[in-house]
Symmetry: C2
Subunit: 680 residues, 2 copies
């Protein structure tokens, strides 16, 4: 839902690693623009923006502003955005997922991070300067240079979070330039009828077999929290698309990969208002929402665009509105008087959604069993096809997508499949395209990070393979990534521990020899919702781990220009069995629900401790027990045997044990010789 | 310097555990007040405050305020405060280190945390209500109830941090009550000539053999940072007493346990102003400060009380003042216009002080060798005296203090010695007094957490002992605390890792069986300065770990009403030797500089991994090498032999190894029998 990136010391720490836009691993000079030539050189991929900019500058003049900020976000701070919301992409030509544009009457600049510099140079024409940073402070400094004192800077308040708005305001504070909320989006205005139309596909009810509770039960739970809250909120405002989708057990197709739809919800203690294009609801969905009408469990439907006016009216009364500040836009937030706000980072709906009940847990487990079948089919297929030189990154990605589609309840991939061979895998979020796809080979490592949407759950799994002879470093690094994955997965920790304080267990085995990785260690995941579901995970802005949460665990290692490794599972937070107990709640641990074995060719078993080996063998036993029958019921005999081979228990024959065994053998043979002689 | 407490879910997380005020482990009813009786019952320990309150209320009326907030802090946010700054203690009778009082015209309340509830009930009379919480929000709610709208609430802005001031302001915001800065302290006014006089002892120079750099070099380093800073600060303002003491290599005796003196410093790019009672400087100290006069390396002396007026004047110019917001008072901060501030959590002096150079590291190491001698003497003495019933908690504490005093360069204890037997040790920060001291016994565990001030360094060490037969749980818990200490001490981690992300390694061995502890895992420490030196440590507000920092590592386990365990060492952050390297800086690890062996009677060696045993044996070897010669040179032969006995290497005879050895023995004996027969 919001940007999952964190930057520490210039290195991107992705909350997860599954996001990605097609990207070139290598970029010859002719693929990027050269604006210092005369005339400038533009690659064929560059987009001509002169006319767009001229029109936009006209709109700036008409609105009396000197600069206009164009964010890459949508009104819900969604992680993936619809084409229609890709305003930055349209005005700049640049289609990367993160960036900010600023247009003045005579200049235009794009700010983006190191992942996207090459892509920006390929896609932008010379109207645009590229700024190789993303700090709002640096955007502010550029604006101070480009806009004279007394000037106005415009920004659409419905496209930025409260924090972002305040950061811009601070950056301009005391400088004589004023930040103005421009409520009609100027890019939309000049985009005109070329702009893709609003989504019109159906919004449908999730069948009750795939929901954890009826929406009425969910509403009752939230209302109970409102009543019990010391500040007695009278309403909860939902801006996150997955909040509304989860609450009403509705789904849609408005956003790529995430089955959500454009909406807001205002849930008060006495009524419920859903802001949505109501013509898009299926008859069944409408029926489900209105069985309780009139009454406190009646969902009143109102136009999506009416939300602001309605909130403004509602906020006139003696009310307190509870909202999540991490993803509510400044535009909505600012219509509510400060003293009528109850601000938390996340709304109670977001928190409730993060903790799956027993049925939701079972659904997610079941989705992972079928998902494992698709991935195992893919691994076996690769084993046979790669040595023949018949697979490239792109065809591999398409094949695993197809295998997932063939599984029951499938709704396609949960993000763009990452399929990276050799040095391409060193870019943690590389995805191939049909024009830039490398052939897979037995001489290189291959990283596959893919996931599926199923009616019962969302999945996300990464496996790394080598079908030939890995180098000693590849084998050691892979083994240590695996050790880290095991160490965090088997950790026992107190209830309500912050993920941030335990994620280093996934790194320790790498740290021991001076290795590390530059991204986060995991993210929450939904029941047929977002593959990156906030606010669960291992970063400082995630909420403490509690029983019933699902998170990915995904350590990795990336060697620039050489190879990349990541091992990712989804795991459920469960109660641990401990001899003692400190505090009122049982201690916790993880139950891994992704059920695909690792590449035995890359494991140096002598590095693992006895405990790690035992854990691994228990995991393999679980895989056999849960996936084996599913393979058989799908009549995948070859895959079944592949699974048996690949889940054979490991045994460590450590150096000392070997030595002991050898000396025992020697002595035994000596004894037998002696006995023979004696008998002779 | 500032409160080192963190509360999570109602449990106190002390940054370290060495703070403490005398406290009763048990409190019969007659020891505490009973205000619901008529007349009220007051124990002999209660202080009569009626006259003080009457006088204070007169001052409230004279100043036109309805409520007056009395914090427990001093103008430098010192961790320990002088008697003269104990305003809360004087007005309430309550002498605990943490609390807040509020006096209105007809009510008076004290807020303090669970550590101090019993003590407050013993020390306060019935003029005072006790509020069992410390949240500023709850103080605000009480004020809203006690003060009518339109009323004024007074607070001395020189006794609270910026954050605290803002929290009070927010708590009253929009309520019609106004928070007023009252610059003349009203408690001081009514305390009058009964208030202890200002410190008059000498402020002296630290001999150059005990300093890491001359003060001129330190000033040059800070000025260089000012020049290189992007915001070009013109001055650094130092409010922390240890900042000024460190910068000028000066020491004093104004605060218990911390060798600092009342002062402020304003260091600009062209001059240096030290605000201090200059008559207290020794001739040598004054000489040292003024050899460079006039000039940029001349320290101009100005009266301590002039600091605010001077800063106000200085801030009129075209200046930028750099300061640490964590410990600068709102009173000083508020005279500087917002646009002339460069705010960081900690000043560059605080950060520079945290990273010890090679000489400072050597000094701290040397202090720890002599400190180990005193602690080893104490452990041997206990071993002989406890079985005879000749030691109690208080006499033990006095004995170890005396042993430290006898060491070269000693300046006494670095905090009030914690000496806790049996269930008293379950209070993590218990200190005995001569009226409440338990006898040490071979039937109970004993926890000793003590430290010394030496001219070359400050020390802090905790050992836990049992001279009889520990219970299985005691032995397991002790061993797991030790395993945690070893696991964090031997961890290898990337440069600039946040302590918060690695401290769980000190807990994992406990977590594994459902045990945990409710305090922090460590704190920085100084060279003859604070025993809790900010901003180093393992909490979220500590700065990242870098080479040259010292921190304590002190996991524990506490079982209410039964026993308490803590094992604490001081460790230096050093470069690690790793096979590979990721990033530009070498990976880091810890070198433990506390050199005292653990209680073998409490270690279950079968729980330790081979790596932990090897680490322990290497540590013991270091102790022998470094402390052995010092014991011999101090002619402590008995202690020397005690040390040899107590640092014998450990060997694990695990079940499987034993079995192998036995079968080998059997075979060998069989062979030898056979050979004998053959030869016969």
């Amino acid at each position: 839902m919001h940007s999952s990136q964190w930057i520490i010391a210039g290195v991107f720490l992705l909350q997860g690693c599954t996001m990605g836009q097609p990207q070139q691993a290598t970029s010859p000079r002719t693929e990027i623009r050269n604006c210092s030539m005369n005339p400038p050189y533009l690659p064929p991929t560059a987009i001509e923006t002169t006319a767009r900019l001229t029109a936009l500058r006209g709109a700036l003049r008409a609105n009396g502003i000197n600069a206009y900020i164009v964010p890459a976000t949508d009104p819900h701070m969604s992680e993936y955005i619809a084409e229609r919301d890709s305003r930055l992409g349209w005005v700049t030509g640049f289609t990367g997922s993160a960036g900010t544009g600023v247009v003045t009457l005579d200049r235009a600049s794009l700010w983006t991070d190191s992942r996207y510099w090459t892509q920006a140079e390929r896609q932008m024409d010379c109207n645009w300067e590229l700024q190789r940073t993303i700090w709002i402070k640096s955007i502010g400094l550029w604006i101070l240079e480009a806009v004279p004192p007394g000037g106005n800077v415009g920004l659409d308040p419905f496209l930025v979070s409260i924090d972002t708005w305040n950061s811009y305001r601070e950056a301009l504070h005391g400088s004589g330039r004023t930040l103005l909320p421009i409520e009609t989006n100027l890019v939309d205005q000049v985009w005109g009828d070329q702009r893709p139309p609003p989504a019109s596909s159906k919004i449908y009810s999730l069948p009750s077999e795939f929901t954890g509770n009826s929406w009425q039960e969910k509403v009752a739970g939230i209302r109970q929290q409102m009543e019990q809250h010391i500040q007695s909120p009278t309403a909860v405002l939902l801006s996150g698309l997955e909040e509304t989708a989860w609450l009403f057990n509705l789904r849609g197709d408005d956003i790529p990969y995430n089955p959500v739809f454009y909406s807001y919800t205002l849930l008060t203690s006495t009524d419920i208002r859903l802001f949505v294009n109501e013509t898009r609801l299926t008859a069944e969905a409408r029926q489900s929402l209105q069985t309780g009408c009139p009454g406190p469990l009646c969902v009143e439907l109102q136009e999506y665009g009416q939300v602001r006016a309605h909130i403004r009216d509602y906020a006139q009364g003696n009310v307190t509105i509870w909202l999540g500040t991490e993803y509510t836009t400044y535009g909505l937030y600012s219509v509510i008087p400060q003293e009528k706000l109850l601000e938390d980072s996340y709304s109670p709906v977001m928190i409730a959604k993060a903790v799956k009940n027993a049925k939701e847990q079972e659904l997610l487990r079941a989705a992972h069993v079928r998902d494992a079948v698709a991935v195992i089919q893919y691994l076996l297929w690769l084993e046979k096809m790669v040595p023949q030189g018949l697979v490239d990154e792109f065809s591999g990605a398409r094949h695993v997508d197809a295998l997932r589609w063939a599984q029951e309840h499938s709704h396609g991939p949960s993000f763009e499949s990452i399929s990276a061979s050799g040095l391409n895998a060193a870019l943690a979020h590389y995805s191939p395209s049909n024009v830039s796809s490398q052939k897979l080979s037995v001489d290189e490592m291959y990283l596959s990070d893919t996931g599926g949407q199923y009616l019962d759950g969302t999945t996300d799994i990464t496996r790394t393979m080598h079908w030939g002879v890995p180098t000693p470093l590849q084998k050691e690094a892979y083994t240590r990534v695996l050790m880290g994955n095991i160490d965090l997965s088997r950790l026992i920790f107190p209830a309500d521990t912050a993920g941030r304080t335990v994620e280093s267990f996934a790194r320790q085995a790498l740290w021991e020899v001076g290795l590390n990785y530059g991204h986060g260690t995991g993210h929450g995941i939904g029941n047929f919702l977002s593959v990156h579901e906030w606010p669960v995970g291992f970063q400082s802005n995630n909420i403490p781990l509690t029983k019933g949460m699902f998170t990915s665990i995904e350590p990795g290692y990336y060697r620039d220009g050489e190879f990349g490794i990541r091992i990712e599972n989804v795991a459920l937070v469960v109660e641990a069995q401990t001899e003692y107990q400190t505090g009122e709640k049982p201690f916790l641990t993880f139950e891994v629900v992704s059920l695909v074995p690792y590449d035995r060719n890359l494991i140096d078993i002598s590095l693992l401790s006895q405990e790690q080996i035992q854990y691994l063998n228990t995991y393999y036993k679980t895989i056999r027990e849960r996936v084996g029958p599913e393979l058989q019921s799908q009549q995948l005999e070859e895959e079944y045997h592949w699974l048996q081979r690949n889940t054979e228990p490991f045994r460590r024959s450590s150096a000392s044990t070997t030595a002991t065994t050898l000396s025992m053998l020697a002595i035994t043979s000596l004894v037998s010789t002696l006995l023979t002689e004696l008998q002779a």
